[in-house]
């Protein structure tokens, strides 16, 4: 067997999987998006751009997704970084693993159960009631964008913590010593050495969370209560409730294109950030 054949053999299982589970369904979605809804729902073959023309009907879902997904990613990142830093840099090595396990403990139960807990916490008898005892009346949390944001950050925090933790944990302590030796105070060392070298971890975490958030539907369904809904919720509705497969396909395909474009721009920016920084600042 030649090296080339062996290479093919190694990627064959994944290749077959992607073909059957990704390329084929996507092709179906693409074809359906140019079709029409049957009288009793489902799909009738056709070639029309009607479904795409109808997209503005679901503008709110796109708007919510495009605002709350990046915002949730940003919030998760801002909360995860100090936590990951504390775990990777400041924690005694013998406690590290125990604390890391604690970070993923929430994954031991279903997100559904945990989101239900949040419904109670954010609902009338939860945090608003508690605030009421301090004289802060009339706070409404449940079924607001803020509730969805809390749910998102809560649910996806571990996914953000891990890549950042790994990047910070790998950081060579001698680089920090070198920085200090060259006259940099701790804060300067953080911004000039630690932060730039942990960017790859931050970038990975943000991408993971962002991509998953773009397709999220459970958290907005439970904590947004039909008022704050994502594209994911629109898709559930179109495919399962109103059985408008053609329009659903158009919405789904549009979401994929938006994601592709955003992620491509994002990766370009990160790549530039990593290689182009400070390049000419001295000269």
């Amino acid at each position: 067997m030649t090296q080339r054949e062996r290479n093919w053999l190694l990627v064959a299982p994944a290749g077959a999987w992607f073909l059957v589970m990704l390329v084929l369904p996507l092709s179906v979605v693409f074809i359906f998006s140019f079709g029409e809804r049957g009288a009793a729902g489902g799909y009738v073959p056709a070639f029309t751009f009607e479904q795409y023309a109808n997209l503005p009907a679901r503008l709110t879902a796109f708007k919510n997704t495009m605002i709350l997904a990046p915002l949730g990613t940003l919030a998760a990142m801002l909360i995860a970084y100090p936590l990951a830093y504390q775990l990777a840099v400041r924690t005694d090595p013998k406690w590290k693993n125990i604390l890391l396990v604690l970070v993923i403990v929430p994954f031991w139960t279903s997100i559904l159960i945990r989101s239900y807990a949040w419904i109670f916490l954010l609902g009338g008898r939860g945090i608003p009631a508690l605030l009421g005892t301090f004289g802060i009346e009339g706070v409404r949390l449940i079924y607001t964008p803020f509730a969805v944001l809390i749910g998102i950050v809560y649910g996806y925090l571990p996914l953000m913590v891990f890549p950042i933790y790994v990047a910070l944990d790998r950081l060579d302590n001698r680089l920090l010593e070198a920085s200090s030796d060259l006259g940099a105070r701790p804060l300067a060392t953080f911004f000039k050495v630690t932060l730039p070298l942990s960017i790859p971890g931050v970038a990975t975490g943000c991408m993971l969370v962002f991509i998953l958030l773009m397709g999220e539907f459970l958290i907005p369904a439970l904590l947004g209560g039909g008022k704050v809904f994502f594209v994911g919720n629109a898709l559930v509705d179109l495919f399962l409730q109103s059985r408008n497969w053609a329009f659903g396909s158009a919405v789904a395909f549009t979401l994929i294109v938006i994601m592709l474009v955003t992620v491509t721009i994002y990766m370009r920016l990160i790549a530039r950030l990593q290689t182009g920084r400070d390049d000419v600042s001295v000269m």
């Binding site: 060579d172 001698r174 680089l175 010593e177 070198a178 920085s179 200090s180 030796d181 060259l182 006259g183 940099a184 105070r185 300067a188 000039k192 050495v193 730039p196 070298l197 990593q274 920084r277 400070d278 390049d279 600042s281 001295v282 000269m283």
Partner: protein, 380 residues
């Protein structure tokens, strides 16, 4: 906390008067890590413009001593002084000291120029851009890397990275330059080249260099003075030739250069030269520099190059059998065996005629040396 002000050092070559001023000092410094004593009661003074080596095997405390000067470790007891000021409580970023790390510790996300400019940019007030660029350019020239400003660290070879690390340190004009086994990762030829360059740069800048090494050859060829360390203590301080010719103990004789050792007891003391009776019953002459008295245990040290090897017996020579012959180019090393003394290493200069065969394994040969070239040391 008040941060002491360290005036910038002018970079003229050191003059004799500068050389006599003490630039750094350890006073009774002890460092303990838990129960482990890494450095014990170190007392040493470094003079302005000196090239100093801390020499010893790994774990002897040389790196700990260096890290206490840099500020990465705080002494458990005693005082560290730089330029007359006690710096025990001073953080590394407030010390007028720079370090070249063993693994270089260059910043992988910065270019060569930005690595070198790093320290200058931390100065307050921050020097103007033109001044930084100027100094970076000069530092690159000093380490012969002009034109590499925009290279990435990972585009540089090990030897080049070494130079960048050196440039990054010297550009700050530190009072002390600390080098932690800087050449350990380089191959032999490159190491030789860098040794010569290090010495040139040190002479040129007049900065006090402190080199930590376990490589005796490196320490011997580079240093003005060597501090030989063992188990956290300094066992001897001296110039390279001093240490080589007058080692104070068997340990130093063994670590600085190579030597043959014969254990025994002092048999007779007659002036400077004494006689040692070996365990095998042989009597050997040597300089009694340790002032041992009759009956005391001693150890005779004899450098391989001080022994003459010959085919004919002379007055007082010892007959041996050649065990092995190692061709070293300009020298030939013979490992010979003596009935009573055991294995002896002899370094013979190459015969003047090319192709002369020397001694082969199994040959009988005769060794002789002068009593002046052997040393009787305190065994340890």
């Amino acid at each position: 906390m008040k941060i002491p002000d360290f005036p910038a050092e002018n970079s003229e070559p050191s003059t004799q008067s500068q050389r006599d001023t003490c630039i750094a000092e350890l006073k009774g410094v002890t460092k303990r890590f838990g129960d482990v004593v890494a450095a014990a009661d170190l007392d040493l003074q470094l003079r302005q413009g000196e090239f100093i080596s801390f020499l010893g095997p790994s774990g002897c405390g040389k790196t700990t001593a260096l890290r206490m000067l840099a500020g990465f470790e705080t002494p458990t007891e005693g005082e560290v002084l730089i330029d007359g000021q006690v710096v025990n409580a001073l953080e590394p970023y407030n010390r007028p000291v720079n370090m070249v790390f063993q693994s270089y510790a260059l910043f992988p996300h910065l270019t060569v120029a930005d690595n070198i400019a790093y320290g200058l940019k931390q100065k307050r007030p921050r020097p103007p851009k033109s001044e930084i660029a100027d100094k970076v350019g000069k530092a690159l020239e000093t380490v012969r890397l002009a034109g590499f400003e925009h290279r990435r660290i990972w585009e540089m070879s090990g030897g080049q990275q070494q130079r960048v690390a050196l440039a990054r340190a010297i550009v700050n004009e530190p009072k002390l330059l600390l080098l932690d086994e800087p050449l350990a990762a380089l191959d032999r030829k490159l190491r030789k080249e860098m040794q010569i360059e290090l010495q040139d740069i040190q002479r040129q800048l007049g900065i006090t260099f402190i080199l930590v090494t376990h490589d005796q050859e490196e320490a011997l060829s580079l240093s003005d003075r060597i501090f030989v360390m063992r188990a956290g203590r300094i066992v001897q301080i001296g110039t390279p030739q001093d240490l080589y010719d007058n080692p104070g103990s068997r340990y130093v004789a063994d670590f600085v250069g190579t030597s043959n050792f014969f254990d025994g007891r002092i048999d007779a003391v007659k002036g400077e030269i004494s006689t040692l009776q070996t365990e095998g019953g042989l009597t050997l002459d040597g300089r009694n520099t340790a002032n041992l008295t009759k009956g005391e245990k001693g150890c005779l040290s004899l450098r391989p190059e001080q022994i003459r090897i010959s085919g004919e017996a002379t007055d007082g020579s010892m007959e041996v059998t050649v065990q092995n012959r190692i061709f070293l180019g300009e020298h030939t090393e013979y490992l010979v065996r003596h009935e009573a003394l055991g294995n002896i290493s002899v370094l013979a200069p190459r015969q003047s005629e090319l192709g002369a065969r020397g001694f082969e394994k199994g040959d009988r040969a005769h060794l002789s040396w002068s009593g002046q070239s052997a040393l009787i040391l305190r065994p340890d």
